[in-house]
């Protein structure tokens, strides 16, 4: 018996041996012009990376992460050195406070002028002197629902606790977003450090758990398009994309308010190729490139020049992609809550996940 397995394996081994020289010859003739990019999943147009490589001759080594929380320990441990990362606001604040980012030389990023000034203003909440970050995308967190599967119009987070939709609800598998939903539902701040408020939010999320189909991040999009769930908590950027693929879907910002976020390019302290990183960020700020990315990922771009280039009027003035935030109440940006806050939130999240 064993001999037979072994024989079959020999064949695999031999074929691998035969291919090995070919592989080696390919891998070692590398020059050092490269940039290591660590970005969210499905957060860039692959063609943009290709055209960047072609134009600059810099090879992009591209990796993806699912949440800010997954990204952070990798950078913190120092085991890996990425040159450009794209964290959200509160995570940028945490990285600045822990001395993990280096100042960006804006002289090397002339295209930063295309970014709307108001976004740099907002960025001051987490990057007080606008020294460390260049905005890439922004948006809100809201509810995406399928009009054919939901009878009433939705305007509140409370629908996520409606027994009717048992097994049809997709929650975000990320600490801050999940807790934000419950905190906002109760009218609290999504940066709450109050034990009673957090306890209430935790109890609500535990009560909600039996109704939840799954806690997911990037999968919300495909599952909603595929009619696999009726209601999902999602980032506004996915709304246009999903509506294009499935016209039955509708995005709302709940009346209790929600989180407004900005994801920005930053350069970590241990980056090996700072210059290439700045070339990369500058390239991303070009109007036509930002437009290409916008059309592919459909996340709101802070690049005003790119917005002007959008041809379809309804998208250019879309209430989803470019909402007038003054019309909404209860909008908040996440703040970094310190070591204590991190621990509090992650413990609560673990308790929710392990609940029955």
């Amino acid at each position: 018996m064993k001999n037979r397995i072994l024989k079959s394996l020999t064949a695999i081994g031999v074929s691998a041996l035969l291919t090995a020289p070919v592989l080696f010859s390919g891998c070692c003739a590398k020059e050092k012009k490269e940039v290591y990019v660590y970005n969210w999943g499905e957060y860039i147009d692959p063609d943009v990376l290709e055209s960047f490589e072609k134009e600059t001759g810099i090879t992009v080594i591209y990796d993806e992460y699912e949440t800010n929380e997954v990204m952070y320990p990798k950078i913190e441990s120092g085991a890996v050195s990425y040159d450009v990362i794209c964290p959200s606001d509160y995570m940028i604040q945490k990285m600045i406070e822990n001395d993990m980012l280096q100042e960006i030389n804006f002289d090397n990023i002339p295209n930063a002028k295309n970014i709307g000034q108001q976004y740099f203003e907002t960025s001051k909440e987490f990057d007080p002197e606008n020294k460390y970050s260049v905005p890439y995308c922004w948006g809100t967190v809201g509810i995406l629902y399928n009009k054919t599967m939901v009878d009433e119009p939705i305007d509140s987070w409370s629908v996520l606790w409606d027994e009717k939709y048992k097994g049809e609800i997709l929650m975000q598998n990320s600490v801050r977003d999940a807790l934000m939903v419950a905190l906002k539902l109760n009218g609290y701040s999504c940066n709450s450090m109050d034990d009673d408020e957090l306890e209430k939010a935790k109890a609500d999320l535990i009560a909600q758990k039996p109704l939840v189909q799954a806690y997911v991040v990037d999968q919300v999009r495909d599952k909603m398009i595929g009619n696999e769930a009726a209601i999902g908590v999602i980032y506004s950027g996915e709304a246009i994309y999903t509506q294009r693929e499935n016209p039955d879907l509708e995005y709302v910002i709940p009346k209790e308010g929600t989180n407004v976020w900005i994801d920005s390019w930053v350069i970590p302290k241990n980056a090996q190729n700072k210059e290439n990183a700045e070339i990369f960020i500058d390239y991303m700020c070009r109007p036509e490139i930002a437009l290409k990315n916008f059309e592919f990922i459909t996340y709101s771009t802070p690049n005003d020049a790119a917005r002007d280039l959008i041809e379809e009027e309804d998208i250019k003035n879309s209430e989803i992609a470019f909402p007038d935030l003054s019309k909404y109440t209860g909008l908040e940006t996440y703040h970094y809550l310190g070591v204590e806050g991190d621990e509090k939130y992650s413990n609560i999240w673990k308790q929710i996940k392990s609940a029955d």
Partner: protein, 274 residues
């Protein structure tokens, strides 16, 4: 034996390697598990297993691993008996067919079950076609048990097949000649002789089931936290290496217990298949 010493020196590379990549890393797990963030000695990270959320995840992992192991034995034993009774030219082919799935990538095997069990998955589509009610299996503990059984069943079949194949047919025949019926023969002869295989199979199914985080992540929709998931997340999301290491120490205790049990039953290492 003048060159005995020289030959012994050949073990030097491995001794260095084992020290660097097996012993020291394990000691580091113990170091982190038994200190706090400031490097002071503490049992807190190990005792953290008493916290409800950790205890629950360990308890659930134990239960699911146990269920999976029992199901694997129940499925594999008859199969191994049938396979070992096959004689003739097709024997190898049939046995190979039953362990072939083992050579598929572990993640692809688990992904296959996701595709099958999903609410809109293949099984439910078929059920719907037959006008039967949908099953909600995905993202429940049952889905995880499915995944564990499917992934680890071959690890149970192989050692059982090996020991059963080694049983001398004359022993069985002698029992029959002495008047034992098939059931008695099984209970008195076959079963005791196959204990090493059962034990080896149990460890090979139980340990990976107990410690997995992949199966529970892929088939549990992140709704179900097993101890493996907790440890993985402490390292990859909460950057709390101390707590992650502390819980790993607890996990190792359970592995050591199951090893000791298997050592007691399987003194001769007969069940070793690999």
């Amino acid at each position: 034996m003048k060159n005995n010493k020289a030959v012994k020196l050949l073990s030097a590379p491995y001794i260095v390697w084992a020290a660097a990549f097996i012993i020291i890393p394990l000691l580091m797990v113990f170091y982190y598990g038994l200190t706090n963030r400031d490097g002071q000695f503490t049992f807190a990270n190990v005792l953290a297993i008493q916290q409800t959320e950790h205890f629950k995840s360990l308890y659930l992992a134990l239960i699911l691993a146990l269920i999976s192991t029992v199901i694997c034995i129940l499925l594999a034993y008859p199969l191994a008996m049938i396979l070992s009774s096959l004689k003739g030219k097709n024997e190898h082919l049939v046995v190979f067919i039953f362990i072939l799935p083992m050579w598929m990538n572990f993640l692809l095997r688990t992904m296959a079950w996701q595709t099958l069990l999903e609410n809109d998955g293949v099984i439910n589509t078929v059920l719907q076609f037959l006008h039967m009610p949908k099953m909600h299996i995905i993202n429940t503990p049952s889905a995880i048990v499915f995944g564990m059984v499917y992934n680890f069943l071959p690890f149970m079949v192989l050692p059982l097949y090996n020991v059963l194949n080694k049983i001398d047919i004359n022993v069985i025949n002698a029992a029959r000649d002495l008047g034992a019926n098939p059931f008695q023969t099984f209970i008195r002869i076959t079963l005791p002789l196959s204990v090493p295989g059962i034990i080896s199979g149990i460890t090979m199914v139980f340990v990976p089931s107990l410690t997995t985080f992949v199966v529970s992540e892929m088939l549990g929709g992140s709704k179900i936290l097993l101890i493996g998931n907790v440890i993985e997340q402490e390292f990859t999301q909460n950057s709390n290496w101390n707590l992650g290491s502390g819980l790993s120490i607890v996990l190792m205790l359970f592995i050591i217990i199951s090893m000791i049990m298997s050592a007691i039953f399987d003194k001769n290492g007969e069940g070793n298949t690999l």
